[in-house]
Amino acid sequence: MATDQGVYLYAVTRAEGEGPDGLTGVAGAPVRRLVHAGLAAFLSTVSLEEFGEEALRRSMEDLAWLEETARTHHRVVEAIAGLRSTAPVRLVTVYTGEAQVRELLDERHEQFDAVLSRVTGRQEWGVKAYAVPVPAEPAAEPAAEPVDGPRGASPGAAYLNRRRAALRGREADWRRAAEHAQAVHEALMHVAVVGRRHRAQDPQLSGRREQMVLNGAYLVDEERAAEFTRVIEDIVGQGVAVELVGPWAPYSFATLDQEGEAAHGDAS
């Protein structure tokens, strides 16, 4: 029996401190802490009818389900990350039972340890940059042209010319913004410990009309957060709009190294 139940894993921390207690996980189940091999796994019991592979294939396309699950997962991770260094685990990671989680903690101990060392005292910041048109010079009208208008340029031709110029301008704007976004990324990387670029969000999802040219995540020392935001303030403008989102638990930097973790692990 019990084959219809699994455990949903939210995050792994070092086995230190207390709590957080009283958290509610996915499907309304209480979150508990499993301590093993010097690590603590936060998990809750789930029904495999809802969280088995077959069911997930469908429910991941059910936006209401997906949103509720993602927000619940996030709430649990945030509560833990507010207390201590945390390695969040990817959404809907489900095991058949606690025995398997213990095995995981044994087998991946070094890798979790490396992630936890990497994120200690640091936070993840999201920086999104969008291409925005450079405001056309206050309508390139009079000045250059005589007040009685250029002869031979019919209103229609003038319109088409403006239209073409606008299209060229938009293309140039976009390219400029992409270059600028790269510069923003590089500038942020001087302050960040490490950074990575997520795939740019579709305009339909970002909620902005402008094309997203940078969807970056940066791991930043807590004491350098102000410096980090200052970089953004300094560099903003000139064809790029920037949004700063965070701080986040270090989701984007919890990837377990498959090999060469010795290279990352700080020996001391």
Binding site: T24, E53, D62, A87, R90, T96, Q201, L256
Partner: protein, 79 residues
């Protein structure tokens, strides 16, 4: 839909993001492309499912249904 939420309170007090201000799309970028991935262990549910693609499709479909009206205006010069 009606979960008892700690409405930002405690988290905000700790200087973290109030829950409701987090855009789902930003969250999914992190929850589906980030986080420790433990496939290859004995994970049940996520083996063999391309979660990113599935959920992205769900998001896009919901957005299209939401504003099916707007029409007109291609944003790229494609014709």
């Amino acid at each position: 839909m009606t979960l008892p939420e700690p409405r930002g309170g405690r988290l905000a007090a700790e200087g973290r993001l109030p829950e409701q201000r987090v855009a789902l799309v930003d969250l999914l970028d992190r929850l589906l492309a980030g986080g420790a991935v433990v496939i290859g262990d004995v994970v049940l549910s996520i083996s063999g499912i391309d979660l990113v693609r599935i959920s992205l499709r769900a998001l896009l479909v919901s957005v299209r249904e939401g504003d099916a009206v707007e029409g007109g205006m291609r944003r790229d010069g494609q014709e």
